[in-house]
Symmetry: D2
């Protein structure tokens, strides 16, 4: 089997350099380019890159993706800063991208944008949302290093929102809570009715626990991120799947087989 020809954009960054190593180490991939600031995009076409891993910054990502889509190069994107306008623009360019021939030509280029490439984080959110309707109580505890500036974490807030949406759709009753007297803050932050607690502890990196409780039992889903290398399996998975998934996909969860 011939190897997938992969290029990394933003190859000098912390995640980018890790991605370079991960692609090199993957048996089924060949690293054909590792571009940093100032390098020319033409290299991508010249080296015959089939998939680009885009790990630059919001100022560069649109130009980079325009180039890729025009040249029929698939992209796996970790860069943030996506707005509805940007997504609409990207969809338009994808519609005009090179097509497979045949009677009903369709755009064949695929782009995966993922806010989080950690498979563990994505599964935690997915499972939490699926389970939430079957339990009376759900709370989120996230734990991070004490240098973090925001509380709760974006991931915890997003998780709580997904949980709340799933419960609303299923018509769940509000969570039971008989608290009458409480110290300020004791019951956590309220995110759409889901209590979220943020712990800041030296020694930790990034951790999240979703606690679900029903009559006589609890279910706990915990994700521990111990190193940013945890993004690599998700990036490689994205590379392998994006080549057969034309159009725009938002969120790594769509590439996970959870049947």
């Amino acid at each position: 089997m011939s190897k997938l020809r992969v290029a990394v954009l933003g190859a000098k960054g912390r995640i980018g350099s890790e991605a370079v190593r991960a692609v090199e180490a993957a048996d089924d991939m060949e690293l054909v380019a590792a571009l940093g600031r100032g390098d020319k995009l033409e290299t991508l076409a010249e080296t015959g890159a089939q998939v680009v891993v885009e790990l630059t910054n919001p100022a560069s990502v649109m130009g980079n993706l325009d180039f890729c889509v025009r040249h029929g190069i698939h992209a796996v994107v970790g860069t943030t800063g996506w707005t509805d306008e940007r997504l609409a623009h990207l969809r338009t360019s994808l519609d005009a991208s090179p097509t497979t021939g045949g009677e009903a030509p369709t755009p064949s280029t695929g782009v995966l944008i993922a806010p989080n490439f950690s498979i563990g984080a994505v599964l935690t959110m997915k499972f939490a949302a699926q389970a939430a309707r079957y339990f009376e109580s759900v709370e989120v505890v996230e734990l991070h290093h004490p240098n973090k500036a925001d509380a709760p974490s974006g991931t915890a807030t997003r998780t709580a929102q997904l949980i709340a949406a799933a419960r609303a759709e299923a018509g769940c009753a509000p969570q039971p809570d008989a608290t009458v007297t409480a110290l300020d803050g004791a019951r956590g932050a309220d995110v759409d009715g889901v209590p979220v607690h943020a712990v800041r502890l030296r020694g930790l990196l990034a951790h999240q626990e979703v606690l679900l409780g029903g009559e006589g039992e609890t279910l706990t889903i915990r994700h521990d991120s111990l190193h940013h290398s945890s993004f690599m399996p998700g990036i490689l998975l994205g590379v392998r799947r994006v080549v057969t998934t034309p159009g725009l996909t938002f969120g790594l969860e769509h590439f996970l087989d959870l049947g």
Copy 2:
């Protein structure tokens, strides 16, 4: 909305008496009969029971279900001891059960048999099997009270088998393990390649943890069963869904919406 007419068989047992209370407490159900050893099955027909919760024993269950199926009464079954022969017999009687009228009459009676009515336990197995292919390492730790006679628990063994099957289907590599010198038993029991560890501790009831580990991250799914009342939400869910699910369903997971 009229209430579901529900009867409990085995109503004097530990789980059965709990089921009686749970049905009585449910807004959308009416308890029409609570039968114990020696009570007549005819009562089910006389009271117009629509669903029976069958919590007796392997010696009684087949007769009870024959009666139900013949009378078009749906059944939710927690009794154990199912063999291929018994399941085949039950399917045959279901095929001959009263049908909905119309041009293409189909058997309308539904039977749900569930080895485990704890929604938390069922979700743990489901999620573990779904996640297993995305992590290099998976191990199971189950923890129970020290009066338990078997190790590991049936649930832990079943969970490990489901994990192993999912990994085999996805073509996962064997789990990494560089152990060269080990004390006997240190690495747990081997269930189809998945290490399973059994802890026995005074004070515990029934708990299970599935640990999944990949590059830089771990995902932990933990189920704590603190009281056998944990079966009640699953039994009530079964009662509500079995009336619109003709034929035989094996396993509560088929009644959970995990879309």
Copy 3:
């Protein structure tokens, strides 16, 4: 060896009836009386009780202890509502209690008052306070059933206070926390500088986790109370030790050998 003659006051209550069973089941004890509301205290003297387990209520406890101390009966007390005045009164009566004979007669009656008879809870507080000075960060997460009226729990508040006092005594720096933007309540309640988070979840009873974090490592001490029978080992330990510990002892931790 002759058995300790033990009486239970408040024997009809939830904890009291459990204590009756625990004393009966203990090899080295004999239950000589189990008194409820309206029963006469004289029974204690008549039956030759050596130790009384006092599990009544704030309105009765002082009278009961006065009787015990006057008759040289040791007491293990779980009743709450202790004030400085009450403790001072009790100390005074103990000073006048029957003495051992000899040249330097000393009061021989012992009274143990314990706000918490769970050995696990007591050890959690003790260990947390001991460890707190060696870690940069300490937070407390308590988890209870959703019918609880106060948040955080009294035990969690007390634990945080002990931690804060130990850190102050050791001259620890304030905990690191770079939080700039936070949702209200996300960082928990502040108890003397120690963040305390309260989770309320159906299915839980009473649980507490102390998280300590330093450079590259964390230490977690977790107590799970799954049944109020957890008070029994502490009560029995108190009974065995109070007979050789004259005077007033406040807190079960003084009876634990932590050398």
Copy 4:
């Protein structure tokens, strides 16, 4: 206050280079020498080092310590390979080390040898041994990366031995365990009667959990080591305390105030 003059031996190693940085970052210390293979020990005397952090190897450590003791330089030693003979030799040289003047001259040089400088690991062992006698059941679960060659870890084995010794001394009954049928290995390795389970999971570093269970409650003490920088606070603590602790001290626990 003048700063402690500290030298590091083995300064090029993984832990050594970390120790160099930690000493440099400590407000109350001054790094006066950082010696690697081939550097001369005389530097220690010339630079006026008061404390040496010894992180070399079993072949070098005895010579290094002989030099330190002869010159009245205190030492904090992380190098392994200690035998009874080596310890006896070291004690003899310490007896002959420079003394404080005065009428009752005593050796003033101190040496701390610690098999583990992680304060969290040391406290886990200490607390586990203290608590073990108060619970019917105790088991150890250790979790490491899958490249580890031995199972269980040395720390887990040592922890189980300390637990077993404490229980023996307190006259505890054997642990309850009604297991009749078990898969091979399910109940873990037996270390002096304490079951020890070893989990190997990609993504983990070094973790240990001691589970203690009694009537109605459990106590869990968990240590997570996420980076080898976790040794630094213990090394710095050793440096600060060894200067006022003449003679040989074995084990960091002796320098922790657990009053």
